[in-house]
């Protein structure tokens, strides 16, 4: 289980997170939606200790990430796979070396076992046969698939996806969504998916949380979010340039947050 409790983060004068609280249960796929620059990536970077919170905590299986020692943090990171927005493949290495990189670090497997795991992970993301290719030779969608293969090669308990379908065409996006669903079924991982692609969110998510002005505006199942009466949530999921007057006036509508522009 991953628990965010009152997470706050600022970069200089720019306050990004103002108290994010959210629980991700074991086995589920939690999708965090929100506009660009609302702090979605900043939120999940706290899970693996890439950022330290100014206030609040992030706990993974009860361990508060910011309180872990270096060795404990390394052990935690070995249980979390991170799929970066632009794949973040090491451009000086072949695809096989990229996928094997984390496995070699653990030192628990022989080179033969590593080769097998690399092949298996690449096959899972339908990238078998690209072992000797360099990242620069791949398209954006293929790079993201290799990024996913690298993350799942360690057989993590948790997977964090940072905008996995951003910048991809609808067909490739659907392929990536399918891979995320299949990975979850094959490996039984708990996932957090950051996205502003609502089609993808509905397809892969068990629950959805919307981040708005540094806090979780609403969280619920896919159906609950689709039927939300919150004008800000409706504006976002329907992709409207402004909040509709009838959403604000709707019975049971959640009032717009202070500072928002209905």
């Amino acid at each position: 289980m991953i628990e965010f409790r009152g997470l706050e983060k600022a970069f200089g004068a720019k306050v990004v997170l103002r108290g994010v609280s959210l629980t991700v249960r074991d086995g589920e796929t939690m999708v965090i939606i929100g506009g660009s620059g609302t702090g979605k990536s900043v939120t999940i970077k706290h899970v693996v200790g890439l950022l330290e919170p100014d206030a609040g905590t992030v706990a993974v299986d009860g361990q508060v990430v910011s309180e872990l020692r270096r060795r404990e943090l390394t052990a935690l990171r070995a249980t979390v796979g991170y799929v970066f927005q632009f794949a973040a493949l090491f451009d000086s290495m072949t695809i096989a070396d990229n996928v094997a990189f984390g496995l070699r670090r653990s030192g628990a497997m022989s080179e033969e076992q590593i080769r097998e795991r690399v092949t298996e992970s690449l096959r899972l993301v339908e990238m078998a046969g690209t072992e000797r290719t360099m990242p620069a030779e791949l398209s954006g969608g293929m790079r993201k698939r290799v990024g996913l293969a690298r993350a799942i090669a360690l057989r993590p308990k948790y997977l964090l996806y940072d905008e996995p379908t951003t910048g991809l065409d609808p067909v490739t996006s659907a392929v990536i969504d399918e891979l995320m669903i299949r990975t979850r079924e094959a490996l039984g991982v708990t996932s957090i998916v950051i996205t502003h692609d609502m089609r993808s969110a509905y397809r892969v998510g068990d629950r959805i949380a919307m981040l708005y002005e540094g806090r979780i505006r609403q969280e619920g199942t896919v159906a609950e979010i689709q039927q939300s009466t919150d004008p800000i949530v409706r504006q976002f999921i329907e992709g409207r340039p402004s909040v509709r007057a009838e959403d604000v006036a709707a019975p049971g509508a959640v009032p717009a947050a202070e500072g928002s522009q209905p």
């Binding site: 890439l50 390394t74 991170y82 632009f86 493949l89 990189f101």
Partner: protein, 255 residues
């Protein structure tokens, strides 16, 4: 004016504070031999062996110019074999380490800052961390160790090349024989001259690679940030070379 000066001073103090933390984190990564051990030899080749051509090119022309400058400077009252003494002393004590250091601040320092800066802005450094690697052990230590070990070796070759080319220039362009040149070379030579030059070179190697790694890993933004980190690495490295040059002269050459 005073406010701007104050802000600049605070900025420089903060920079040195962050650099201190960075060096401490790098030293803490030393026990992680399994990570940096695999990287050290490729880095020694990249930073050391691949830098030899530019270092030797500069040294060759420095040697020629030094011989001609020395002969131009010594008057009829000073024997011409002093050309050998001047070429040898200046090359070993000063120009060999400093000119090579300045050239490598551009070649090695800029290369490191650009490479690590690009890795930072494309999230490759974050990816390293999520795969349980310590960037200080995987990226910083191999570069700093390779720089510290290889700079003295490069400078030793540069010294030999400069003196050799000084001899070539002296014997072909000036009325000096090989025996006279060698006599001058031996005249004021003490083994400490070489040691002094190599100690300086090791410190230059350490500082250039450390600044390159520090500014590269702290790059913010995109291509502009990488460019900025690269430029600052060259400027700060050049400044630090001159500061260290003075420091070693004050520390080791004062009677």
């Amino acid at each position: 004016m005073l406010a701007a000066l104050g802000r600049r001073s605070v900025g420089i103090t903060e920079l040195f504070g962050h650099l201190g933390h960075f060096v401490a984190d790098t030293l803490r990564a030393v026990p992680d031999v399994r990570t940096w051990g695999r990287q050290i030899f490729p880095m020694m080749r990249r930073i050391g062996v691949d830098s030899l051509p530019i270092a030797l090119f500069i040294a060759a022309f420095t040697g020629i110019v030094l011989a001609l400058l020395a002969s131009y400077t010594v008057t009829a009252a000073v024997p011409l074999y002093f050309v050998g003494a001047l070429v040898g002393k200046t090359t070993m004590l000063e120009l060999g380490p400093v000119l090579t250091g300045l050239a490598l601040a551009g070649r090695v320092g800029a290369n490191i800052a650009a490479e690590l800066g690009s890795m930072r802005v494309t999230e490759q450094v974050d990816a390293l961390e999520t795969l349980a690697y310590d960037p200080h052990a995987y990226l910083v230590l191999p570069r700093v160790m390779a720089g510290t070990l290889m700079f003295p070796i490069i400078v030793a070759f540069a010294m030999a090349t400069a003196i050799f080319m000084g001899w070539v220039a002296a014997t072909t362009l000036l009325p000096i024989t090989t025996a006279e040149f060698l006599r001058g070379l031996r005249l004021f030579y003490v083994p400490f001259d070489v040691t002094f030059g190599l100690i300086k070179s090791a410190s230059f190697g350490f500082v250039i690679t450390m600044i390159g790694c520090f500014l590269g890993l702290n790059t913010r933004g995109g291509a502009e940030g990488v460019g900025d980190a690269t430029t600052r690495t060259v400027v700060y490295s050049a400044e630090m070379i001159l500061v260290l040059d003075a420091y070693w002269a004050i520390t080791l050459l004062r009677p």
